[in-house]
Symmetry: C2
Subunit: 207 residues, 2 copies
């Protein structure tokens, strides 16, 4: 089975730890708070540390808010070269809830690929609410993880992790499609914030 | 019940005619080919005419490809003032299938609102494949119609039409959200074109 490092200890970090645990992955959790990392790692029989520690996972999930990506890229730099690095962020302007803060023709994931040119960036999990990852179901069907990235084997590694956890998975193509995944994540957040859907709902992909 | 004018006679025009028929709406079909309009109108007990004829519907659905919107706006101009005008287009660059042809921070619907300032533009149906409108189901559940527009009552009129037809409906907010609806439609088209989903599949919205 694969190994995964989760950077972050919040709701999404916890939900992705549940997915990784269900997939039987070796799990490392790194937090700004070692205490919180230890609590989360303990729940999924993983190891814990703080941000800046060497990552042990083949897949490194940056389960942090968008503004923290730049700091993590600075902290790790070339130490993430060759790794599958997963960006899960929805770079919303939370002041207005009416636009994204990244360039209209870009994406947070594309920015991260520029900041970490040696890493194999994959956009994934940003279209899944935490509850639908932990429960692994959305409206009675398996939750679908969408992944986009320029490295096909990296993309596949994330899709395989999802599938191994009992989730559905769909290849969304190259990193250019991260723009559309972020639009989808944004739209879904506005629907939940305006109570048109619940935080256990969202977009399900039907074949 | 409401009245609807469908401009166009293709696959999406036919599917939206099925929806309007299921909703019990009075239907007018206008085509560039009067013959094709007559065939489609005949199937749903509507009236037929050619593009340029006065519209009789309170809701006017422009069931045409994106490049035809400008021509229709030129043809009708202020004659569409006050009408609920529905843009269903996905303005893809079909040469590359890798981007949209509208401004990255805009949408086809926003362009149409500029071209027809007196009309009440609603973006809708662009996230629904034709088959899922005609059958009114997606993976065993009612197909969901998403609608965005700056005029709340116009948006609601489209959502009410969908609901009356037995579809699910969700208010996606102002016309600015048309950008995200077009991104969603684009993503869905790339998934179908690459055979990750079928043309009877797509994104379902779960509450």
């Amino acid at each position: 089975m694969t190994s995964i490092t989760i950077i972050g200890t919040g709701t999404m970090a916890s939900a992705i730890a549940d997915v990784a645990s269900a997939a039987g992955a070796d799990i490392q959790v790194l937090g700004t708070s070692e205490e919180k990392a230890r609590v989360l790692a303990g729940r999924v029989a993983g190891t814990a540390g703080t941000v800046g520690d060497d990552v042990t996972g083949e897949i490194v999930v940056l389960a942090v808010p968008y503004p923290a990506l730049a700091t993590i890229a600075d902290t790790y730099g070339t130490r993430l070269d060759g790794r599958v690095v997963v960006d899960i962020t929805n770079p919303l302007d939370f002041a207005t809830f009416d636009s994204l803060v990244v360039a209209a023709d870009g994406s947070a994931a594309a920015e991260l690929q520029v900041a970490l040119p040696g890493a194999r960036i994959v956009k994934a999990f940003n279209t899944n609410f935490a509850g639908t990852l932990s429960s692994r179901e959305l409206g009675g069907d398996p939750t679908t993880v969408l992944a986009a990235g320029d490295d096909e084997s990296a993309r596949q590694a994330v899709l395989d992790l999802a599938t191994a956890a009992g989730l559905a998975a769909a290849d969304a193509g190259t990193l250019r499609r991260a723009r559309e995944l972020e639009a989808l994540g944004f739209l879904q957040l506005t629907l939940a914030a305006s109570e048109r859907i619940t935080w256990n709902g969202g977009f399900a992909l039907r074949r």
